[in-house]
Symmetry: C2
DNA sequence: CAAATTGACTTAAACGTTTAAGTAAGATAC
DNA sequence: GTATCTTACTTAAACGTTTAAGTCAATTTG
């Protein structure tokens, strides 16, 4: 059927071709293209015309070779399937492209081993910098930033430039909203306490809550829907009017557990989440939760990386962005 | 506080350095590294030792310049936030890396304009091939594949190598399951009928259903939770025992609409989705839906692209992968 | 035993840019 | 009117690889 002969990619025009076509030297063409050197108006126009008619596009590999600059950055993520990352990656790619950089993507699937390989790979491809969300909190690479300018996103990490959300603030905002809704008896299901961001969420909540409401019980679980048996039994005791969950997945788990024992959310017990995952408006009840400025994080990461690439010797910088609260059905007022 | 002086990235060892260190010519080193030419065992070992001690890694830009091969492919997606893409992107990146290729990511945010720019950009960076999920069905680029070897994923598209799911089969599987559950009165909310995959879903459903069950009403809506007024009024008529939705978002919309008028899902009316988005087990009721082999699609796309890059003149190939049905709560049996 | 082949290496050109250095002509200075 | 400075170019080297072609000794061949 479809045997229309494919046209082989015509080999691309080179600087030399343009020079010949315009009757000048390659240097002149280069000067025109880079606005350097000095070229007369007529010659410049001729060159530009030749560039257009030959559809000349500079060969990045050659430029990279000569200048040492690849106009490329790396992006290392643990797992794109985690709904946190797609929006971040999108923002980073867009901001980078805007700034004239292409993005080499590496998804490590959470493996520290792959992370190291990935970093090596990026270095070999000559990326000028990298944005990295480490798979775990300890620096699997001794100091990546010694090899390539690098900013770490989402996780606070020593010795690196950092961009992340204000998790403490998120905890505080939840606390305030909970108090405003007149809740006084609280159950707390934190995320893993060996993760800094989970600790900070908890810390923010507690500092704002102490003296004004009572933590009836507390537990910590992995970021997942399935809760631990202890947690379930705590939920079953049901002495609280609101359950604060470490993130949206945990919140869903809590809602399910409550429903399973015939307790309605939010009529009898409220639940709050954290992260505002894309589906948190799709579940029932919709989740009251904290929204991280994912796009902002990405943009700031790129900005910071550009700075770092320009001044490799600069002081370490940490950028912390404000979060938002999204008030939805799962948190109700006590009347 | 942290004013530990950053160590500037030591400039990398070059082939010449290795050659000098090993006391041979650069050609010999290159031959050793590429297993070409002929080199004696002792010399080879010496060279390898020098490579190790100098931590030499070949400079990809230079290799690219000399050989014309960048060992890089492009990945052009319309929108990473669409939950369909992260898993696909992950699979593609992993498979590509496995095959020795780095992946340049471009997220066009659905803009045809950006898509064109992106393709130009990839061509400039010298990618050896690209995997493309077009933002719209008409080829915004006349024929991308004339510029770069290219395979189109997810959407059937003429003149390109294709990899996508068997949407017809998905429709059929749903139909069979619905019949098995003894439903005979069906409401159909298709996705946009100008999209081939939506048409195919519908087609598969109908071919399998005709004569065995009745389509009481039918409508088509965009892939979103918010349904059109006509659709809502059709739902309100409630003459059906099951509503087949064009994808999971539409299914959620239908469930909400039903709940709003006091109809319980799946007790009174069943609902099916399509796509098995990551949250389809998180909603209540959990969705009966069709799972696309996202990882498989990515892997096949990379495989196919490798083939295409090796034989640019080969016939167009279309690969269609089987889908799975995920039977969950939202579809109930009529007893 | 001379001729031809093989094996192990080196030399040097090439890939497509950028850019320092050179050149020649015209303008400006004194 | 010569000397100096600009302007507008060109020449050629360099970036780090790969690879065709060359060299030379050791081995095989008839």
């Amino acid at each position: 059927m479809n045997n229309k002969k494919r046209i082989l990619p015509a080999k691309k025009a080179t600087l030399k071709d343009v020079a010949k076509h315009a009757g000048v030297s390659t240097a002149t063409v280069s000067y025109v293209l880079n606005d350097s050197g000095s070229v007369g108006k007529t010659v410049r126009d001729n060159v530009l015309k030749s560039v257009r008619t030959l559809k000349y596009k500079p060969n990045r590999s050659a430029q990279a070779m000569r200048t040492g600059r690849t106009k490329t950055i790396g992006l290392i993520l643990p797992d794109l399937r985690n709904p946190f990352f797609p929006e971040l990656a999108q923002a980073i790619e867009n901001a980078a492209r805007e700034a004239g950089y292409a993005v080499l993507l590496i998804d490590t699937q959470g493996s520290n081993e792959t992370e190291k390989e990935g970093i090596q790979m990026l270095s070999q491809y000559g990326v000028e910098g990298a944005i990295w969300c480490p798979a775990s909190e300890q620096d699997s690479f001794k100091n990546f930033a010694d090899i390539i300018p690098c900013v770490v996103v989402d996780r606070p990490m020593k010795n690196y430039d950092n961009v992340h959300s204000d998790y403490v603030m998120g905890g505080q905002m939840l606390a305030r909203e909970i108090l405003k809704a007149s809740h006084t008896k609280i159950g707390l299901i934190s995320g893993p306490q060996d993760i800094a961001s989970a600790r900070m969420r908890r810390e923010g909540l507690l500092t704002e809550l102490t003296g004004r409401a009572e933590i009836i019980w507390e537990t910590a679980v992995p970021y997942a829907v399935g809760l631990t048996p202890e947690t379930l039994s705590l939920i079953n005791k049901n002495k609280v009017s609101v359950i604060v969950a470490g993130n949206d997945l945990i919140a869903i788990g809590a809602i399910r557990a409550l429903n399973d024992i015939g307790i309605s959310v939010p009529d009898q017990v409220s639940v709050t989440g954290f992260d505002d995952m894309p589906w948190s408006t799709l579940v029932s009840p919709t989740l009251t939760t904290i929204r991280q400025p994912l796009t902002g994080l990405g943009q700031e990461a790129v900005k910071l990386l550009k700075r770092r690439m320009n001044e490799p010797e600069a002081e370490r910088t940490v950028i912390i962005l404000d979060v938002d609260i999204r008030i939805r059905e799962s948190l109700s007022w006590i009347t």
